[in-house]
Amino acid sequence: MKPVVEVQDYSFTYQDAETPAIKDVSLTVREGEFVCVVGANGAGKTTLCNALVGLIPHYFTGKSEGSVRINGADTAETSVSDLSNYIGLVFQNPFNQLTYASGTVAEELTYGLGNRGISREEMRRRVKLVSQLMHIENLLDRDPLELSGGQVQRVAFGSTFILEPNILVLDECTTQLDPLGASEIFDIVKQLNASGITVIMVDHDMERVAEYADTVVVMERGQIRLAGSPREVFSVSDINRYGIDAPDYVKLSKGLERSGLSDGKLAITYDESLVMAKEVLEH
């Protein structure tokens, strides 16, 4: 698969900051890949997201080195609106995502499409599709200011999906949702990924990361410390030193091994844990 995101020796220092927020970051993401970026708060995850969609350097000013290319286009030389044809970001704080320039959720959803000169007919088609996908059909006529945190988060997702980007960047975007609401959104993301959309997701829920990611990228103090498959990354025994915790599935594998109940195999997903526990019971 061809690379769609190419970050090369990239560093960025916010204006007035003394130290770079991200430093010497190199990362290649291939078309259709599901990448999860994890790390402690302050590790540089959100800065990386902003750099991918061009908000850095076009909106946040500072000093950058190295390069970020999206579908071959250098983000420093491409406008945020042109980049948004390929790559969409769902913000960490959904209240920062909505324009609130519109009176209704439907107008909020079509804001980006209007700016692109998409026909009204096509707008209607996409609003219908996205509002069904995000279960916000009943909110279309509501004032965005009157929505709950969870509802705003769904609208924020919708306003990104509706632009039909090939690459989705999700920055801890389900923090306001109840557990099933969050799983449901991740199921949608997984479906989009299965249909060929590239996903780059920042998340603190390690069980979810282990379940979904093709590649896990661990950031610490602005740098990438580890990158590999969930199995490779979560096999690292002192993972806590990077400010993250192993999934409970991995802790269970290790607990079973310590008690002499397993031979040290590592289960990193729900299904693998289930199989492992059943094997223990059968022997």
Binding site: G181, H204, L252, G255, L281
Partner: protein, 306 residues
């Protein structure tokens, strides 16, 4: 400290009724998690606890005194409320001033305030940040600054709205230690959370809300064993609990050590192995949205005040 809800209902001015006929009692040094779907009434319930919102039906008493008899400012020295978004709470120039503001307004002497600042700074991990402007703190630090400012008033009860939201691993560990310390000091801790691992690891009692009513109320073991009822409020048990349920272990486990122990007991024939259904416990089919699913009301009278 004893907070009693007697048939409490609450309607917003728009006419939307967010709470229906709530009967609950929070008492002593309990740690209580309030969970449930978006819009279930969790924050509305929590805001009743120090009178930020007041019942429109029924009555709420704190140590026997009707909530209506005092102002929220008066109650807030007994019941501290930590907002979900620290930006809604913080407004002073430094962390130290944020910490000193509450107790100083309550007339606490400066020497006591200073000693509390040392203690609370250690608990919140903000020792080196006392002279920093709250706006210059990281999101995690800001959250702990908001928590610290409330604990500084030494309330008998602390209410947290989504304390783990946006927290990382280190923040989760710090919150765990902080809640344990508050419990040691005999304080009532009540937290709203969507993070089931956090709930299972830190709380003695779990109240599940659904459409403005209490759906379940019990120990984490009792509550997380009721998978089907939980689903009505869009809640799933923590991952490790779901694996145990998928295997059919005859006990509800909440932690990895409990899982290993229960597996050993099951092998030894001390714990029965239940038949598991064919449904994949890791994937839930969702029916009905926006809280329109039908549900049966469940109440556990056992947790109401005697």
């Amino acid at each position: 400290m004893k907070i009693e809800f007697n048939n409490v209902g609450y309607s917003y001015q728009s006419g939307h009724q967010a709470l229906h006929d709530i009967n609950l009692c929070f008492e002593g040094d309990q740690s209580v998690a309030i969970i449930g779907q978006n819009g279930a009434g969790k924050t509305t319930l929590a805001k009743q606890l120090n009178g930020i919102l007041r019942p429109t039906q029924g009555s709420l008493t704190i140590d026997g005194t009707e909530i209506s008899e005092r102002t929220t400012a008066q109650w807030s020295k007994r019941v501290g409320y930590v907002f979900q978004n620290p930006d809604d709470q913080l407004f002073l120039e430094t962390v130290r001033e944020e910490f000193a503001f509450g107790p100083r307004n309550l007339g606490v002497d400066e020497a006591t305030i200073d000693s509390r600042i040392d203690k609370v700074a250690a608990l919140t991990g903000l020792q080196g940040k006392l002279d920093v402007h709250p706006a210059d703190l990281s999101p995690t630090e800001k959250k702990f600054c908001g928590i610290g400012a409330v604990i500084m008033m030494d309330p008998d009860a602390v209410v947290f709205d989504e304390p783990t939201c946006g927290q990382d691993y280190v923040g989760d560990v710090r919150l765990h230690d902080l809640i344990a310390e508050l419990k040691r000091e005999g304080k009532l801790c009540i937290a709203i959370s969507h993070d089931m691992k956090f709930v299972a690891a830190n709380f003695d009692r779990v109240v599940v809300m659904c459409q403005g009513e209490v759906l379940l109320d019990g120990t984490p073991q009792e509550v997380f064993s009721q998978v089907d009822v939980l689903r009505k409020s869009y809640v799933t048990p923590p991952p490790i609990t779901r694996v145990a349920q998928g295997v059919g272990l005859g006990k509800t486990v909440l932690t990895v050590p409990q899982f290993v122990e229960t597996l050993e007991e099951t092998r030894a024939g001390l714990v029965p192995l239940l038949k598991t259904s064919a449904i994949n416990n890791n994937h839930y089919e969702i029916v009905g949205h926006g809280g329109q699913s039908s549900m049966t009301q469940r109440k556990n009278k056992g947790n109401e005040c005697q």
